[in-house]
Symmetry: C2
Subunit: 667 residues, 2 copies
């Protein structure tokens, strides 16, 4: 009888999840009921029996992280948040599912709903974020834990579906996770044999478990995902017991479980069941409650999470107190990290340069900056997608982050740009102060653009270090030469794109990047050497644009350059000034930051009265009309580049003093 | 003795490849000698003993396709092209490696060098293109071959490295290839344990062969890749014998084989060996020839490919002749396909609409168009990344392209956008007349942007069908709502981005897309219904922009809309005209096509004298200054969207008649 009662309570709880999802989707007439209905059992076992979290403090540091990588099933997560007692999702919020400004948007958004760790929906991102979360945990544990005091000790749980598993980004991140042996990453694969187009036999017949074995994961299969709660629990417990490998648990379920007509079909994936089928499902599952009504017994059981959570946090606070007593310096550092406070005076480490300093490639300035910051900002952690010696992103103060070497800070992403992007976002959204950076060639932002976009949307302050930023990279040719890339990145809302012109501007770009913990910064850097400008400074760069050099009085013309073309503008200006022209050179490392300055400052840099303006940038003219009135007032490149030595390519495409001077005169 | 002589000749040939690569890189002081040195044996076996091609006719239809997915090793391919007798790569061309306008650019470019099938370099693209090439072959074989006449019968060979295997795009495409059982796709994995950052133990320790087994491939391992030529040959022959699975042959090699100091190190991957090491390598490999000198005996042996190729083509011509006799109608169709000739009068099938026709979502118009074209353009083949019923891309005249059902035309890509992109490019670059299309939600072009860029660069006329093209998609929220997406795609050179406003414009977009066989077209389509406009037509849409409606005389203001916002402009215009204003509405489905019109036409649509202009587009204002003078003269959205019903989202973000009218009046 005891078992029967317990079963019944379990069923009540699981069906509470299912019907909150069914009813919310039905009310919104929009959404995805299929996954919540099928994955409710595994989610219930996880949240009710195993996961450690505190509903009343969603930001409790040592909570287990939960990621719904199959983000379309977000009603599963909203139901869990509500049922377990988070204040962020009330029953009213659930009734507002997918409505304007609700806490329950169409996919999980960490910036809208406390308790949601990362923003998912674009498939594969969540599991890759999960790898980032697990990396963050492993790093902090290696850094802070003591033999007698495990301050950092949580799991990262991910629920993912067939869609996530088909996406390349998940393969990249999971291959790396296996390589790194991230033992506290546990993925539950909702194996429901259905994707949007129909059965997985249409397009997805690979042996997923075998693939994860090949990646080096610990792999299990729970066949009875619809009802074998103990089986699910045991599998998760077994996964926790394996500490040197991430775990992948395939759990076979029925999508839309309980719906007489739609269970096990693609029809239940992404559309409301419809009134009749909702009724039929109620009947089929013996659910006698009205829409949005949760049986008291179930709610009470779920809400035990509140007390459980409070005591888990209290217990951890005890650990923290002990830690503070025994290891006060480390504790202070830990609290600095987790409060998101930067070390005082860190910015003094930023290198500065004067024109007499040697001309360096800005990627080299970036290396100097990263290595100047690395000792003073120990929370800086990152690396390159297998272009370390080209991107120059290695932190010499540390070694490579490898299996069992989690205290190190140089991440070795391999040739996995997209995975790198999502992993960095996961590290940032661990919200423990870590500042992640990821690097590749600028043109390969195309491989990771979805992750870059999500860094901006989800307020992950990732830093994107992108070298080889124009056709001037030369011989590798048009496949490697960005042309439209900078413009296409500038178009992304809330992403700061900086293209520094010299050493000081690189330092300025990093100042911006480090300080913006909720807004990602992308830094575009040259392969080729650039002289240090007289007018540049960290402060100027941080304003987005400034007067780099000027003639006396109102200028006849303003030359606006970015990055490697500022020094070209300076040379052209010198020649034009020699001919008696009054020329201002404006360096504009960041459009967005300049646009955010007050009008007086903007007017002081680009006075409205001076309409003769020429923008010079080794990229597309797309969008430059904003500052020069007309896109034709540019020296830019609007075709693909070509393979040739960098200097030759630049010359052939018109990035010469002569051409800039001629264009300026023509104005 | 006979064996010894043969061995020696093989070695001479292999070293000829190696030293052409070494010398070319050395002369250019730039490039990647490591791969050619290590992969020369497998490439030699493939090109000399097994691959069927005709150097004097690189476009011979039935040639085996060769893809160097590890494109940085392009000197391997240039050496092979030269040695086997292609006219496209002379010794002088090799001496011009990586120089301006040379036939030997820094990565293989199909549009520069006959004999190069696809453009590679961005890792993982080539193997995914290879899947597309194999799909094209399988489809044409299923369509044209007769029991007694195998007109279409070639292999697709790919050499790929660790980098390609780490990239998600390769995983996506190879999972699909295994699912489809593409037996004539054979991949040689240059397993050299080195990536740019160092040994693969840094970041890549998965069991690659096991992963490919999990994908459903036939998998082998040749351990002696540096010298076991017969082993390589046998493995390829075994791969050919397996007809129901693609084959993956891991061939263990030494990167930079022969270099005493650099072999087996990352140092030989991407930099010239340096004079001393070149000398040392010559000595080590017993190579007594001057730079760029190929031993006569080796050249003679390689050049047997010319005669072999001529006779292979002659033999096939015989098959074609027989086919023509026996199956004249099919033969005519085959020749139409392979000559790239569209069926006469195909464009008559394009649907047209009048304002009295029902308002449809343009994705629905797209479905009608695709299905109107499908019967008359049988070479149209494509599908969706698991959003078939949302993208509405299913061709009802056919069934799903599945294993053993290769005659069908509906490709089921699964949730693999990036793989889809590269596969479509491979189908297009099979150059057999097939017209591929790939579909997903517009925002997920971010997942496949590298492939879209390459479609433009490599002149693959792929068609990208992208639905749910603005915040008006509604409830799915900002992760799914494009904002900057259209602008960022417009910035890509040589990509035609069309955002049609109604049924006629959709037909116009497809007319452009079908006709542009060397320039890809991306069509952005709505989720929501749109009225049919009075002024729209196929011809007008193909001009990029046109006057959709007008007042008499010189307009006071021009409203420029695209896609769903053209009808909004029309409504606003009606209101403004009611107040006595003279208003022109311009529909601008494609910036690039409009920019390509002659000046008189452009002036007739957007007269310079009318400076009051307002652009209305549910996307970023980025770049609109080009047509309206100032980006602020827009009704656009420059932030991320939000989850809410589509109509609500549009209203909240200002896409209302009231707001457009108010903005217009403010001007």
């Amino acid at each position: 009888m005891a078992v029967a009662t317990k079963q019944s309570l379990d069923e009540l709880c699981i069906n509470s999840i299912r019907f909150l999802a069914i009813d919310a989707v039905e009310k919104a007439k929009s959404g995805h009921p299929g996954l919540p209905m099928g994955a409710a059992p595994m989610a219930y076992v996880l949240w009710n029996r195993l996961m450690r979290f505190n509903p009343k403090n969603p930001q409790w540091f040592n909570r287990d992280r939960f990621v719904l990588s199959a983000g379309h099933g977000c009603m599963l997560q909203y139901a869990l948040l509500h049922l377990t007692g988070y204040d962020s999702v009330t029953l009213d919020d659930i009734k507002q599912f997918r409505q304007w400004e609700s806490k329950t948007p169409g996919h999980p958004e960490n910036f809208m709903t406390p308790g949601v760790e990362v923003t998912t929906g674009p498939l594969g991102q969540g599991i890759a974020n999960g790898v980032g979360l697990a990396i963050a945990e492993a790093h902090l544990a290696a850094k802070f834990n003591k033999k007698d005091c495990q301050l950092v000790d949580h799991y990262t749980y991910v629920i993912l579906g067939d869609g996530c598993n088909m996406e390349g980004v998940s393969g990249e991140a999971c291959s790396l996770a296996g390589h790194l042996g991230l033992g506290k990453l546990i993925a539950l694969y909702d194996d429901n044999h259905i994707s949007i187009d129909g059965g997985t036999e249409i397009s997805f017949t690979e042996d997923v478990n075998k693939r994860f074995e090949a990646y080096g994961w610990h792999v299990q299969h729970v066949e009875g995902g619809n009802d074998d709660l103990d089986g699910i629990q045991k599998a998760i417990e077994a996964a926790k017991a394996v500490t040197d490998k991430p775990s992948f648990i395939k759990i076979t379920t029925t999508i839309g479980y309980g719906s007489p007509k739609k269970a096990g079909t693609a029809g239940v994936h992404g559309a409301a069941l419809g009134g009749d089928e909702v009724e039929a499902t109620r009947k089929n599952l013996g659910w006698e409650y009205e829409p949005f009504v949760v049986p008291e017994e179930a709610l009470k059981h779920f809400r035990e999470a509140v007390e459980r959570g409070a005591s888990l946090e209290a217990e951890w606070n005890q650990t923290l107190a002990t830690y503070k007593t025994k290891y006060s310096a480390d504790a202070a550092e830990f609290e600095r990290y987790t409060s998101g406070t930067l070390p005082e005076g860190w910015e003094k480490a930023l290198p500065t340069y004067s024109p007499s300093d040697k001309a360096l490639a800005t990627r080299k300035n970036s290396e100097l900056t990263l290595n100047a910051l690395a000792p003073v900002i120990p929370e800086l952690i990152g690396g390159s997608a297998d272009l370390t010696h080209s991107n120059l992103t290695f932190l010499k103060v540390s070694e490579s982050f490898l299996k069992g070497k989690y205290e190190n800070r140089n991440l070795r992403f391999g040739v996995r740009e997209h995975g790198m992007g999502a992993i960095c976002n996961g590290i940032a959204l661990h919200n423990s102060g870590l500042i992640p950076y990821g690097a590749t060639f600028l043109v390969f932002t195309d491989y990771m653009r979805a992750a870059i976009r999500l860094s901006a949307l989800s307020e992950a302050g990732s830093i994107w270090v992108m070298t080889h930023d124009s056709i001037a990279l030369g011989e590798d040719g048009p496949t490697h030469q960005p042309v439209e890339t900078v413009a296409s990145l500038r178009a992304i809302p809330d992403l700061l794109v900086m293209r520094p012109a010299d050493g000081n501007e690189v330092s300025g770009a990093y100042k911006v990047a480090i300080e913006n913990r909720k807004r990602p910064t992308l830094i575009a850097l040259t392969r080729q050497g650039l002289p240090n400008l007289a007018g540049s400074s960290i402060e100027n760069a941080a304003k987005g644009a400034y007067v780099a050099s000027d003639s006396e009085g109102t200028p006849d013309i303003i030359l606006i350059g970015t990055g490697s073309e500022v020094s070209l503008c300076e040379e052209a200006a010198k020649e034009l000034r020699g001919e008696g022209k009054k020329v201002r050179v404006v360096s504009m490392p960041c459009w967005k930051l300049f646009d955010e300055q007050d009008e007086a400052y903007r007017e002081s840099v680009l006075p409205k009265s001076v309409t003769k303006r020429l923008a010079v940038e080794a990229g597309t003219s797309f969008g430059w009309g904003r500052y020069v009135g007309n896109e034709s007032n540019t020296v830019c490149i609007n075709s693909f580049g070509a393979s040739a030595p960098g200097g030759v390519a630049m010359k052939k495409f018109g990035f010469t003093v002569e051409n800039v001077v001629a264009k300026a005169k023509a104005l």
